[in-house]
Every structure is written in C-alpha cells, then in structure tokens.
Symmetry: C2
Subunit: 158 residues, 2 copies
C-alpha cells in the first residue's frame, strides 16, 4: 500500500521524519555518567501527528538501556504537544513551540505509576540542521532541581 | 542478534507476547457505532516490562483509525501497571491485577494535552484463552459516565 500523503497540519514537523542514529551522553548527580547509542524514528500515517519511538543501548555490549514511545501533535501558531509513555512507569505531556526546525518543550504533566520514581518536571530541546538532530533533555527528579540529563547528536539514516 | 531471554519479572505477562489481529466494535452515546480491524503487538527486550503498540483501521477502506503505544509493567503480588500514550493527546496510567491469563485495570491517571478532549477515567479488561485475546475498554469522557466503548476479539498470529 502506498504511504498516505502527509497531513497538512503535520507539515511543520516534516523535518523530523525518518530514522536517526547516533550517540549521546547522560549525567545526573545521583548516577555515574554514561554514553549511549541511540535510534529515533518519526513517521506518519496521514493523520495530523507524528508517531515516535526511541531506543538506546550501552556502547560497550549493546544491551538495551532506555526506550520511549509517543506522538507529536503540531497545533496552530507554532505550538507542539508531545504525549509520551516510558517503561520506567512514567507518562509525559510536554508542550512548547516549533520555530523553523527547532522545538522547545516543557512538561505540563509528568505522571508516575505507583512503583515509579518521582520525576517533577522535564524540558526537551530539539534542533535539526539538515540531516543532523541534536537534543538536550533536562529533568528535575528524585529531589534534584531541573538540570541537563541527556544530550545527543543523531544523523538521519538514508 | 539472538533475542534475549524473558526477564523473570515479566513471566506473568508471557501469555501476551506476539502479534494479534482481529476485529472490534465501538460505541458511545456521542458517536455512531462502528466496526474496526485491529493489530496489537506485545514484545520484550529482556527487561521487566512488555512493550506494546496497537493500531486499528476502518473495515470499509482500511484508513487508519486509532493507535496507542506504551509499556506493561508486572509487579509483585499479581499487580500490573500500564503506561500509555495516545495520539488523541492523552496519556494513561492504568493499574490493576493479573489473574492467570486475565487482567483488569483502571486508570490511576488520565492526562490530556491543552487541545485534547476531556477523558475522566477508563478501565481495561483483557482475557486470553489460548490464541484468542478478548478485551473490553470502558471510558468516562466528554461528560458521559463510565461505560463500555470498545470490545474486540483478536487471534494470535503464527
């Protein structure tokens, strides 16, 4: 079946479409710093949102580290909404703005299941330049103030 | 790469693993009743949760209808947590119990993005008998009380 055309409302996020791979760095006061490999996918089904999955792995032995899945919803006036589920037992609703090929979002809601750690808030910045995607993920969690936790540089796969 | 062994904590959900396809029926006071085709996938990466995606389509022309993505987290004493993102702008944290090959969950949290419709609460019942999975999804939304919204019967794909 031929892929459907991109929904007009999703055009502001067209620059994200595809599969991206690269490496990132993680740090936080409560853990040892670490590097990771990462793959991110953005795709669409002809509806006014992009579907999104992410997975990362340890650089030494390839064991799976983090993953997340959700949907990016562009709205009028450069607004973007992100709904996300994380296997750590968290959900996020992040909202912010699209400016060209950059997005800045902050959490409107971080929900935690009964057994999950406390996460108070997060921010996500994503910048795409051509076939390079860089992001910064900041988090306030387990009593620590909002601060940078993850940065990565990914390359769009052919 | 060979698939990793199932994490011991995920064994109570092993009965869900695989790809399931079938048909369902939807109804709600505010909309016309409808039938749908559906595919559900449960898989694991060797960690103590199952990853989950769902997509449904119209029976007449195959156009995509709903989708959702998230993670099922089995916990001690037959407890299960589900974190979920939906492209309607919602996130769910549902919690409940596993009894054999059946699960009953109710929402602990339903979050809505700024532009999303109001959803007050949901329940999810899933029963697997061999290679048949049946579920009932109930929802309280847009001012209506909690009531059945979706039922489906899916078959495990070989």
């Amino acid at each position: 079946m031929a892929p459907p055309p991109l929904h007009p409302d999703a055009v502001p996020l067209e620059f994200l479409l595809g599969t991206w791979r690269g490496e990132g760095q993680g740090h936080y006061p409560t853990i040892a710093s670490f590097g990771y490999g990462e793959e991110v996918r953005f795709w669409h089904v002809g509806k006014p949102f992009l579907a999104y999955t992410q997975r990362s792995w340890a650089l030494d032995d390839g064991r799976p580290l983090h993953s997340e899945a959700g949907y990016w919803r562009p709205k009028p006036d450069g607004v973007v909404e992100l709904v996300l589920a994380l296997p750590t037992g968290h959900v996020e609703i992040d909202e912010g703005t699209i400016e060209g090929t950059a997005m800045t979002l902050a959490s409107r809601l971080v929900g935690a299941s009964t057994s999950a750690k406390e996460v108070a808030s997060v921010t996500r910045q994503v910048v795409v330049e051509g076939d390079v995607l860089r992001y910064v993920f900041a988090m306030a969690a387990v009593g620590e103030p909002l601060q940078e936790h993850l940065t990565a540089e990914l390359h769009r796969q052919p």
